[in-house]
Amino acid sequence: MTAAAQARLTSANSDALGHQKIVFLVMAVLFACAPLVIYPVFMMKVMCFALFACAFNLLIGFGGLLSFGHAMFLGTAGYAAAHAAKVWGFTPELAILFATACAALLAFVAGSLAIRRLGIYFAMITLALAQMIYFFYLQAPFTHGEDGIQAVPRGKLLGLVDLNNTMAMYVFVLAIFLGGFLLIYRVVHSPFGQVLKAIRENESRAISLGYDVDRYKLLAFILSGTLAGLAGGTKALVVQLASLTDAHWSMSGEVVLMTLLGGLGTIFGPVVGAAIIITMQNYLAQLGAWVTVVQGVIFVVCVLAFRRGVVGEIANLIKKPL
């Protein structure tokens, strides 16, 4: 590569990162101002699911691995955080840390099994493992079965800030969301993220270049599961409930849908997708089974005609990665 080409590439890269920074700032400001006009608990839910979808996207969008069992991390972390906060009396930050650690451990075990197969098998294995976890929670006494763990106390952050104050909770959730988002952004643009993309594009080539492909995949799986757990633990404190819904396979399907609709492999897509889906569920909730039908239709339309997703289409229009 000539020096000029190198320079062009570097400047193109910094350009790309430059406009992504602006978009990130706009997004942060939007989320920070949103509670002035939108019901704050709803916005907090959106942020939790956005983080969940971003974590999922790290795996499919950059690693090419479709997990159909990400609900296991959301559900596990939800129960862990709720149990720790309610029964053991942990402070919120410790409860969330504990929940995230539980999800990381689960991701290590599930990932070690799932990465043994590729593509479609990988999806089926993660789905089956998640279903096993679901049945476990259905029977285990500490989850209280169909009732779930209710009235989870939000407690005092570091023993100082009372999170029952909605605005304090909002700032806390916003910080977690933006922190998680930045971490994913950093990972995607790190050498690790580049190797991950290389594996997605051509696994045999990556192996021949000497990369230990399985270790990269496992690491990506753990990272994705851990961040999904962070989202799940936070969500349990936001809605003060941990229930079976979060561990069910339909939740795994929903996160796939959010990411697909927003744009697979885009940085901001999962956030947009999560916001759309959660809003839709909120307004269509009284229609019951129609929500499932609408979700199915979005799936079919996205796959057949709209594979880039909302953000992917915009990025294609302005010819810049988003």
Binding site: F68, R117, M124, L127, G296, V300, V303, L304
Partner: protein
């Protein structure tokens, strides 16, 4: 009479339930394997089409007064036609893309079908009575065998084995196996591969509908009846690997029996045992018991 401290009645009763469940696992995983072989798509709609088969039987009885035996013939044809329509209008557009898109599309279709039926019929099950010829049962001495259950096991075995025979031993089957290996070459020999793909998909989902009709008198006819089942069948497919037709039949029945025995000896694990077996198989033989790693 006891075996390992378990009354034989209970043991054989659960073994029978295991065999019944195994019949459905075998029929469904067989259909999945046939479809996967040619289309490289894991058909997530399989559970929804199994449910559709059961509803078909229910409508034929209540709306047209056609009994179970008619349903056994008509439901697979109707659902097979639905399958052909799905393949022609949607799946065929995705063959050039990553196979994961096929999975996502069929998942979306399953949501639509299940959602529509859940909206129309709620989540409660609708009863479907057993055909008169098969009510009652036979006393085998060590246990009581209801005739209908014996019929389901026998019918499923016959269907599975004939499918195996068609695919492994006939000329039509050899075309199919050849097209699985190398579609362009088979096409070059003048065989209409796209039509074969369409019919294979139709046949695979017709098997699911047949399983649905047979399940209707045992389980109730309900919109969600296929949703959880399909995940178990996925685990069965992972355990068996999709390399061979016989493999998926043996795995289906075998896993059903193991699940039944678990209900006797350690009921708490009966829901999870299949997934635990799957994890163990993945550790020892990642390609599945009958699969070949590509």
């Amino acid at each position: 009479m006891d075996i390992f401290g378990i009354p034989t009645q209970a043991l054989f009763g659960q073994l029978l339930i295991g065999l019944i469940n195994g019949s459905f696992y075998a029929l469904l995983s067989l259909g999945l394997a046939v479809i996967f072989g040619l289309l490289n798509i894991i058909n997530f709609t399989h559970g929804a089409l199994y449910m559709l088969g059961a509803f078909c039987a229910y409508f034929l009885l209540t709306k047209f007064g056609l009994n179970y035996w008619w349903a056994l013939v008509i439901a697979p044809i109707v659902v097979g036609a639905v399958g052909v329509a799905i393949e022609r209008t949607m799946l065929s557009r995705l063959y050039k893309l990553d196979h994961l898109y096929g999975l996502l599309l069929t998942f979306g279709l399953a949501l639509i079908i299940q959602g529509l039926f859940a909206h129309e019929f709620g989540s409660a099950g609708l009863p479907y009575s057993m055909p008169q010829q098969l009510t009652g049962g036979t006393n085998l001495g060590f246990m009581f065998l209801p005739n209908y259950r014996a019929w389901v096991i026998a019918a499923s075995l016959v269907i599975c084995l004939s499918t195996w025979f068609i695919i492994e031993k006939t000329k039509l089957g050899s075309y199919l196996r050849a097209a699985t290996e190398n579609p362009p070459l088979v096409q070059a020999f003048g065989i209409n591969v796209p039509r074969m793909v369409t019919l294979t998909y139709g046949f695979g989902v017709a098997l699911a509908a047949l399983a649905g009709v047979m399940a209707a008198p045992i389980y109730q006819v309900a919109p969600q009846m296929g949703a959880d089942l399909i995940i178990v069948v996925f685990a069965v497919v992972v355990i068996g690997g999709m390399g061979s037709i016989m493999g998926s039949i043996v795995t289906g029945f075998g896993v059903g029996v193991i699940e039944g025995l678990t209900k006797v000896f350690y009921p708490e694990a009966s829901n999870t045992v299949i997934f635990i077996i799957m994890a163990i198989v993945l550790l020892i033989r990642p390609a599945g018991l009958f699969g070949t790693q590509k």
